[in-house]
Symmetry: C2
Subunit: 185 residues, 2 copies
Amino acid sequence: MARSSQTQMAVLGALSIEPMTAYALRETIRDVLGHFWSESFGQIYPTLHALEEEGHVRRRGGARARSSEFVITESGTARLIELLSEPARKVPARDGLMLRLFFGRTLGPDRCRDLLQQARAAAEGRLTEYEALLARLEAEEGDTPDWPYIRTTLRAGIHHSRSTIAWADESLAALSALPGGSPSP
Amino acid sequence: MARSSQTQMAVLGALSIEPMTAYALRETIRDVLGHFWSESFGQIYPTLHALEEEGHVRRRGGARARSSEFVITESGTARLIELLSEPARKVPARDGLMLRLFFGRTLGPDRCRDLLQQARAAAEGRLTEYEALLARLEAEEGDTPDWPYIRTTLRAGIHHSRSTIAWADESLAALSALPGGSPSP
DNA sequence: ACCTGCATGTAAGTCGTTACATGATTGA
DNA sequence: TCAATCATGTAACGACTTACATGCAGGT
């Protein structure tokens, strides 16, 4: 369990879909899991080496080659199942937007409204993105056994974005009653 | 800027409401901001010392006393406004539940349904809590100038919990079609 | 000839938690 | 008097990010 089992989980998961290079791994994680997961090179390479040493992945295309793909092994699949079965570790909450709004009196109503507008716009953008992705993937991957699960995560994004938009609208309406003003000490 | 400006923001924010000891600070942050923020002793004490050195907080009740309260100074308030005005730094996404569901085929439908049930139950619990808190605070603090802002963060929790419940229900219905089974390699 | 993208890695630094150590006060 | 709670801190560790260093391949 040399490196973070979190990273191992994402890496093994991605390799369970198809073999790829470390570089492609990072791109895939960014593009495909990006809405709820992230990994950096600094994590991926050491993790990959550790996994190789433990026999959970195998190098293909030359150990010293400049473009070697990693393939998940049987023990790697077992390890992945083990990791996925562990309870998700709870990441300590740290929501900068909420903290700023909580101390909104100090920050001032105008800036708070700005923050809400920004949050709304960001959520709107994500919503559009998720909906487009859902439609595209429904057509492309609709038959694969992975699809129901992938769809579930996408639907989470859609639900969440919508609720953020509704909350922002409601809050903007509520705060519109307040007189504008700069930060008040 | 010795210690994390994030922690400074939370600490100064809490002290802007009322002076308190480091110990009480941690309790307050846990109890009041706990839904979207967390701080540990290991952060709070050094941060407080740094803030004292910079003149942003002042000790009251004896420098060497065993129970000294910290009071925010004028420069501390200015610093707080400055910190609140900074753009919220985005924390890298790491949602263990989504990752598990994404690789749900490997984890197996049964366990995925378990995860969804758990997520639903947790959201339900938070929703009840937020609603009770909202009603209580509405009565107690409804007139204070801080209330509209605090209310906004509480409403965010309510919206978010509801959307999680709706998503979980929808997903459970969608996954109920799948045949049960253990992890499939 | 040069720039961009693919590819592999390391080192340093940040941020934060957990566990430990220590002691005063207070209520049962 | 004994346990719980209040109170203050430090040390060790863990997880990640960023920035840096390096080089090849392919297109213009």
